[in-house]
C-alpha cells in the first residue's frame, strides 16, 4: 500500500494501485479546493490501472480533476468496472502526452466532466461506443494506431480532434455532435465512417487528409459542413440531409463524391473543381 498524504487521497491511490504493479508515489501531487481535490501524476507507469478507481474515490471524496502528464498505461485501461453496463464518471481527466499501450475501453460511460487527451498515443483500439460526454471532449493531436470507435457517442459540448492521426479506422457512425465537430487538420490513414451522424452545428474538416474512404451516408447536418483545403480520397454523401452550407473550396477529392439520394437544403453547395 503506498503512502498517502490524506485519508481521502489514500483511498484514491488505493483505488488506483489496487490494479497497479508500479505504485505511483514520488511523482504525484494532490491539492484540495472548494469543490474537491485535484490529483496529478507525472511520468508514471500504470500497469493494470483501472481509471474507475478515480470514480470510486470521487464518489466519496469529491475529487474533481485528475491530470496525467507523460504517463504510460502499459495494459488495457477500462473506465468502469463492467462491460455493457452504463456507468457515470464524475471526475474530469486530462491526459497530456500519455501513451496507452493496450486498449482503452470506455463504452457506455457517461462522462460528467471534461475529458481531454492531448498529444496522446493510443497503440491499440479505443472504444467509446455509446458513451456520452456531457462536458468538453478533446482528442487534439492524438495518434490512434488501432481502431477509434466512437459509434453512437454523444458530445454535448465542444469536441476537438484537430491534428490527430487515425491509422486504424475512424468509426463515428451515429455519433451526435451537439457543437461543431472539429476535425480540422486530421489525417485518416484508413477509412473513416461518419454515416448516420447527427451534426447539430456542422463539421469543420478543413485541411484534413484521408487516404481511405470518408463516409457520410445518411448523416444529418444542421450547420456548415466545411471541407475546405482538404485532400480526400473518396467521399460518400449518399442519403445525406444537410440543412446548412456545404463547402469544398480548394479541396481535392480523388474520386467523385457520391451523392445518391442526398439532399442539400442549405445554400448552394460549393463542390471541389473536379466534381
Amino acid at each position: 500500500m503506498p503512502n498517502s498524504r490524506t485519508g481521502v487521497l489514500g483511498l484514491l491511490i488505493w483505488s488506483l494501485t489496487l490494479f497497479s504493479c508500479a505504485a505511483p508515489s514520488a511523482n504525484q501531487n494532490a491539492e484540495s479546493g472548494k469543490d474537491g481535490f485535484k490529483v496529478a501524476y507525472n511520468q508514471q507507469k500504470f500497469s493494470q490501472a483501472d481509471v474507475f478507481g478515480i470514480l470510486a474515490a470521487n464518489k466519496g471524496t469529491g475529487i474533481f480533476l485528475a491530470e496525467f502528464d507523460q504517463c504510460t498505461f502499459t495494459s488495457n485501461i477500462r473506465f468502469g468496472p463492467l462491460a455493457h453496463v452504463f456507468q457515470s464518471f464524475a471526475a474530469s481527466c486530462i491526459f497530456r502526452n500519455c501513451t496507452f499501450e493496450g486498449d482503452l475501453e470506455a463504452d457506455m460511460t457517461f462522462f460528467q466532466g471534461q475529458i481531454s487527451f492531448g498529444k496522446c498515443r493510443f497503440k491499440k483500439n479505443v472504444n467509446f461506443q455509446n458513451a456520452v460526454f456531457a462536458g468538453p471532449a478533446g482528442f487534439r493531436e492524438c495518434t490512434f494506431d488501432g481502431d477509434a470507435m466512437f459509434q453512437n457517442t454523444v458530445f454535448w459540448k465542444e469536441n476537438n480532434w484537430m491534428g490527430s492521426h487515425f491509422y486504424g479506422v475512424g468509426l463515428f457512425q451515429a455519433a451526435r455532435f451537439m457543437e461543431k465537430a472539429q476535425f480540422g487538420n486530421v489525417v485518416f490513414h484508413a477509412n473513416a465512417d461518419f454515416s448516420l451522424t447527427r451534426l447539430e452545428e456542422g463539421i469543420a474538416m478543413e485541411y484534413a487528409r484521408s487516404e481511405g474512404r470518408v463516409d457520410f451516408t445518411d448523416a444529418r447536418s444542421m450547420g456548415l459542413m466545411s471541407f475546405r483545403s482538404s485532400v480526400l480520397k473518396q467521399v460518400n454523401m449518399s442519403q445525406i440531409r444537410s440543412y446548412g452550407p456545404v463547402r469544398f473550396g480548394q479541396a481535392e477529392v480523388a474520386d467523385s463524391i457520391v451523392k445518391k439520394g442526398a439532399r442539400f437544403l442549405g445554400d448552394l453547395p460549393e463542390w471541389p473543381a473536379k466534381n
Binding site: V85, F86, L196, Q239
Partner: protein
C-alpha cells in the same frame, strides 16, 4: 419520423436501458425483461450447440490467408423476393428454407430472377416450421433452433411455397402436415449441413463458392428500426427488443469496399420496408465479435454460422472425367480389437486386407499407401495418422517388408508408425494373397495415447491419391460403424457401451463389391449429418496437396515415443 426514432432515440434508449440494467450484471435468461411488443418478430431460441455440428472442411484455401478471395460477392440475384414472416416466430425457417435453400437450388439449377418469382422455386417456411417436432419449437409458431430445422431439411426435405404457402399457419403443430406436402418436400432435401468457423475469411470463402451462410444473431434496438444503406457496425441498447432477442438471417454477399472495414450483405425476413430494401450490411468485425451469437456459453468460439449443401438427387456427371487407371482399391477389415499383450494398454490388432477390384495392377512403383486415420467427429481438421504403410518397389526384393527408414520423404529414423512394402496387387486380387499367400493380414499398432474425445477411425487406401480410380468412395473402411468412438487417453469405447471391439458383420463377398456398404461411410440413420465419404476423400486430397498430410504421416512414422507394430499374414485354417 422513422429517422427521429432511429437516431434521436438511440441515445435516450441507451441511457434508459443502461439504468434499467445497471443492477443486473448477470445476463441469464431468467432476468430477461419483458420487451415491448415489436413491429417485427424474431424466433431463434438460441439453444443450439454449434459444436455438435461438423465443421466445414472443404472450403478452398484461397492461398491460406484468403488473399486471393474476390473483393466482393453478391448472391442476392439467386434469392426469391424478400419475404415477410409477419407476427410469427418463424425466422429460422425463413432463413434456412426460404432464403438459404431457395438460393442453393437457384444456384444449382441456374434459375433466373423471373423463375424465382414463382412459388414453385421458393422453399416454404411454413412447411419447415410445421414439420418440426412439436417439442422442438415454441407453442403457436413461437421460435425454434437451427439444428432441428436443418435436420428436417436433411431427413424430410422442404416443400415449395407453391405446395405450402405461408398462410393459415394456425398453431404450427406437426399434426397439420399432410402427405402431399411431404411428397413435395422429399424432392428438396439437403445432403448435409456444416458449421463455418467464425472468421471473416471463412464466411467469405463460403460465399465465394456460391454458398449462402445462415446466421444466428443477437439483436439490439437499432437493428429493429434499421432503414439505412450504411453499414451496421455496433450494438446499441436493448431496451425495446430485450436483452435476449435472437434472430436467424442469411448472409448472401460481401464487399470489401463497403463501410470502413468491409461488410457482409445479409437478407432478413421482415419485408422490404425494413433495412435497405430488406437487406442490411453488417461490418466484418462486428459480425464476428458482436452480431453473430455464441449460443453455447461453454464453447464461446463456436458461433452459429451454418451452410447447407443441396442433395441433388441425381449426382452430377463430370462431362470430362479424368482417365481412370483401371486400379480400384477397396480395404476390408474383419476385426479390430484391443490387445495389450502386444505392447501396452493402447495396443490393438487389426485383421484386414486390401483388394484390387479393378482391371489393372496396383503397382508398388506407384508408391501409394494406406493409412489408418482418426478424425474428430465434429471437426475433421483435427485428425491424425495411427499408421501409414506405403509401397515402394526399390526397397529390396519383391515381397520385402521394411520398417527401417526407407520412406524417401522422411529423415533417416526407424519407422515406428508404418511399414514399407515392395509388392504389387494384381487386378482382381488382394494384398494378403500376394504378400503372404495368406487369407488376411494381422497388424498390431498402438493408438496415440493423447487421443481424447469423439473420433471416427477409418482405413483409407491410396490416401495420397496416386491412382485415378473410377470409384473412390470404396477407398474408405470405417471401424467405428454407427457411432463415433469416444476415446480417453487413446483407449476407445462407445459412448454408453464399453465395447472396444470391431467385428465385421458382412459377408466377405462384399469386400470385392464396388457397392456402398455400412462400413464405407459414417453416414447412417442415427448420424445423417456425419461427414460423407466424398467430403473425407476430398479433404484428404486437399491435405495431400497442401503438404499437411505428409507432415502427419511423417509425424506418425517418426514418433519414437510409440512402440513398433507388426505386420503378418493370417494363415487359412
Amino acid at each position: 419520423m422513422k429517422y427521429f426514432f432511429t437516431h434521436q432515440a438511440w441515445f435516450g434508449i441507451s441511457l434508459l436501458a443502461s439504468l434499467a440494467l445497471f443492477s443486473s450484471c448477470d445476463e441469464t435468461k431468467k432476468d430477461d425483461p419483458n420487451p415491448t411488443d415489436s413491429l417485427y418478430k424474431t424466433g431463434w431460441q438460441a439453444s443450439d450447440d454449434p459444436s455438435t455440428v461438423p465443421q466445414s472442411i472443404n472450403l478452398p484455401d484461397f492461398n491460406g490467408s484468403g488473399a486471393n478471395l474476390p473483393a466482393s460477392v453478391d448472391l442476392s440475384p439467386f434469392l426469391p423476393p424478400i419475404g415477410d414472416q409477419g407476427q410469427y416466430g418463424t425466422c429460422v425457417a425463413w432463413a434456412a428454407a426460404y432464403n438459404c435453400k431457395s438460393a442453393i437450388e437457384a444456384i444449382k439449377f441456374g434459375l433466373t430472377s423471373a423463375q424465382l418469382q414463382s412459388p414453385s422455386s421458393q422453399m416454404s417456411a411454413k412447411y419447415l416450421f410445421t414439420a418440426l417436432a412439436n417439442d422442438k419449437k415454441g407453442e403457436n409458431c413461437n421460435g425454434t433452433d437451427f439444428i432441428p430445422a436443418m435436420d428436417v431439411m436433411l431427413n424430410q426435405g422442404v416443400a415449395t411455397k407453391a405446395t405450402v404457402p405461408y398462410t393459415n399457419l394456425g398453431n404450427c403443430s406437426q399434426s397439420s402436415l399432410n402427405a402431399s406436402w411431404n411428397a413435395d418436400a422429399a424432392k428438396h432435401k439437403i445432403k448435409y449441413y456444416r458449421r463455418i468457423p467464425p472468421t471473416v475469411n471463412d464466411i467469405k470463402k463460403a460465399l465465394s463458392e456460391k454458398i449462402p451462410v445462415v446466421l444466428g444473431a443477437k439483436l439490439d434496438d437499432s437493428f429493429m428500426s434499421w432503414n439505412s444503406e450504411s453499414v451496421y457496425q455496433f450494438a446499441t441498447s436493448t431496451a425495446q427488443v430485450g436483452i435476449h432477442s435472437y434472430h436467424a438471417l442469411c448472409i448472401v454477399g460481401y464487399d470489401n469496399a463497403r463501410g470502413p472495414r468491409g461488410a457482409f450483405k445479409v437478407v432478413n425476413s421482415w419485408g422490404n420496408q425494413w433495412g435497405a430494401g430488406g437487406f442490411i450490411w453488417v461490418d466484418y468485425t462486428f459480425m464476428i465479435n458482436g452480431f453473430g451469437f455464441a449460443s453455447n456459453p461453454n464453447t464461446p468460439n463456436d458461433k452459429n454460422f451454418f451452410v447447407a449443401v443441396n442433395d441433388d438427387q441425381k449426382p452430377t456427371v463430370d462431362p470430362n472425367p479424368p482417365a481412370a487407371t483401371g486400379v480400384d482399391l477397396a480395404p476390408w477389415i474383419d476385426a479390430d480389437y484391443s490387445d495389450p499383450s502386444a505392447g501396452g494398454p493402447t495396443f490393438r490388432k487389426m485383421e484386414f486386407n486390401v483388394y484390387n477390384i479393378g482391371t489393372q495392377p496396383a503397382s508398388a512403383s506407384s508408391k501409394w499407401g494406406y493409412a489408418y486415420i482418426y478424425y474428430n467427429a465434429y471437426n475433421a481438421n483435427d485428425y491424425g495418422i495411427v499408421f501409414y504403410d506405403n509401397f515402394d518397389n526399390t526397397i529390396g526384393p519383391y515381397r520385402t517388408i521394411s520398417d527401417e527408414n526407407l520412406y524417401p520423404a522422411e529423415p533417416p529414423s526407424p519407422a515406428y508408425g508404418g511399414f514399407t512394402i515392395n509388392c504389387n496387387i494384381p487386378a482382381d486380387n488382394d494384398l494378403a494373397s500376394e504378400l503372404f499367400n495368406d487369407i488376411g493380414i494381422v497388424r498390431t499398432y498402438p493408438m496415440p495415447s493423447s487421443l481424447n474425445g469423439e473420433y471416427y477411425l477409418v482405413l483409407a487406401v491410396d490416401v495420397t491419391d496416386k491412382f485415378t480410380e473410377s470409384e473412390e468412395s470404396n477407398n474408405l473402411f470405417y471401424t467405428t460403424e454407427q457411432f463415433p468412438k469416444f476415446f480417453s487417453n487413446g483407449v476407445g469405447s462407445r459412448r454408453n457401451v464399453f465395447a472396444d471391439h470391431f467385428k465385421n458383420a458382412l459377408s466377405k463377398a462384399d469386400a470385392k463389391s464396388a457397392k456402398p456398404n455400412l462400413y464405407r461411410t459414417a453416414v447412417n440413420p442415427t448420424h445423417r449429418n456425419a461427414y460423407t465419404p466424398e467430403e473425407i476423400i476430398g479433404f484428404l486430397k486437399k491435405e495431400a496437396r497442401s503438404g499437411r498430410l505428409a507432415q502427419q504421416i511423417a509425424f506418425a512414422r517418426t514418433n519414437k515415443s510409440a512402440s513398433k507394430g507388426t505386420l503378418k499374414g493370417i494363415h487359412a485354417k
